[in-house]
């Protein structure tokens, strides 16, 4: 396909049919991703319902405003991604390049903020299995925001952080994959490969990017906003 002049693969009748098939294929891939993350969400839900108080105590150690800012950053990047596709469809190469670059910048910002959060977690010894501080949870005048009926079980708090790190790291990995693909799109857009007639790759990567946004939309309240 890369060597041919037209983007139409030989086994499709026309570009529209190819577009339909490609889009459907991406949706099917996203369905497998739903199942992949769904397993993590299910495991999280079970343990959170089992150890609700300990998960809440652990969740209070996360910095809510950083998570909220990151949510806003991802929503912005979804908007710029949608506008990149729109620019391609109206044939604006400048718009396409600009919005793709903006999307990448916002994605990188998200990862940067996430890295800062991980560093703070590391400093506060919240990395499960690696110098996880078991003693810090029930100190008088410690991190607990309000008095609890029961002492916190440190192992259960550690379990929360196991879920927190696995889920956010896999999400971050998806962001990194997305950024890499966006880079390819950006280079090809600069070479004028996409326009009003052919924009399928922009649309497909857009679908993926919005999906990764949706995952974060669920991760944010589940991990950062536990109150009851």
């Amino acid at each position: 396909m890369a060597t041919s002049h037209t983007p139409l693969a030989h086994h499709f009748e026309n570009l529209e049919q190819q577009h339909e098939a490609n889009t459907l294929g991406m949706w099917v891939f996203l369905a497998t991703e739903v199942m992949f993350f769904g397993g993590l969400f299910t495991g999280y839900a079970i343990y959170r319902s089992q150890y609700a108080d300990d998960f809440q105590a652990a969740s209070e150690r996360l910095i809510v405003w950083l998570g909220a800012v990151n949510t806003a950053v991802l929503i912005c990047s979804s908007l710029t991604m949608a506008l990149a596709l729109y620019s391609a469809r109206i044939g604006s190469r400048k718009g396409l390049i600009g919005f793709l670059a903006a999307t990448m910048l916002l994605g990188a910002t998200f990862l940067g903020i996430k890295a800062v959060e991980y560093y703070i977690d590391f400093e506060e010894r919240l990395i499960p299995g690696y110098q996880f501080d078991m003693e810090q949870w029930n100190k008088p005048g410690g991190h607990a925001e309000h008095a609890r009926d029961h002492p916190v079980e440190p192992q259960h708090a550690e379990l929360f952080f196991v879920f927190y790190f696995i889920m956010t790291l896999i999400h971050a990995l998806h962001m990194i994959v997305g950024l890499s693909v966006l880079l390819v799109l950006l280079v090809r857009s600069i070479h004028g490969r996409y326009g009003a007639k052919y924009f399928t790759p922009i649309e497909l990567v857009g679908l993926y990017w919005h999906f990764v946004d949706i995952i974060w939309v669920f991760l944010f309240p589940l991990l950062y906003l536990i109150r009851h």
């Binding site: 739903v34 299910t42 908007l79 729109y86 946004d213 669920f218 944010f220 309240p221 109150r227």
Partner: protein, 138 residues
């Protein structure tokens, strides 16, 4: 119908959806600090589902997608529901079995841990009379 290059939708809905998503994000943060009793998780998840729906319908062009695409979308939701429903129908009924077997265990729904997820859910459905956790009856 298939997406054609001739029909280009206006970008205005993108901006409206973007504003809506930001407002919902603010709402979910604000609601988390409000005193809502045991409804926090329900409200947080409802807001998240609304945000997800907005993204699917507008950013991912769910509204203009083919029926075949919708079959895939609905299929993934259905399979997710089967996984969650099947798993929770196990965990949430374990404790109930125990109560049926041993009805004399009066405080079966009030222990903090070790009681399984059902304790949590049953507490949610009908909270114990003496406060959360149940041990501080006075």
């Amino acid at each position: 119908m298939a997406v054609s290059s001739r029909h280009v939708p206006s970008p205005l809905p993108y901006f409206l959806v973007f504003m809506g998503l930001l407002v919902l994000t603010g709402t979910t943060v604000w609601v988390a600090s409000a005193d809502l009793g045991r409804w926090h998780t329900t409200i947080a998840l409802t807001i998240a589902v609304c945000k997800g729906a907005l993204i699917v319908l507008f950013f991912m062009h769910g509204l203009e997608s083919s029926k075949l695409t919708w079959l895939v979308i609905m299929g993934s939701i259905l399979w997710l529901a089967i996984m969650l429903g099947g798993t929770f129908s196990d965990y949430l009924t374990r404790r109930q079995d125990e109560q049926i077997r041993n009805p004399t265990a009066a405080n079966w729904g009030t222990r903090k841990t070790g009681g399984g997820a059902s304790v949590r859910l049953l507490n949610t459905l009908s909270p114990p009379r003496c406060g959360r956790g149940g041990s501080a009856c006075g």
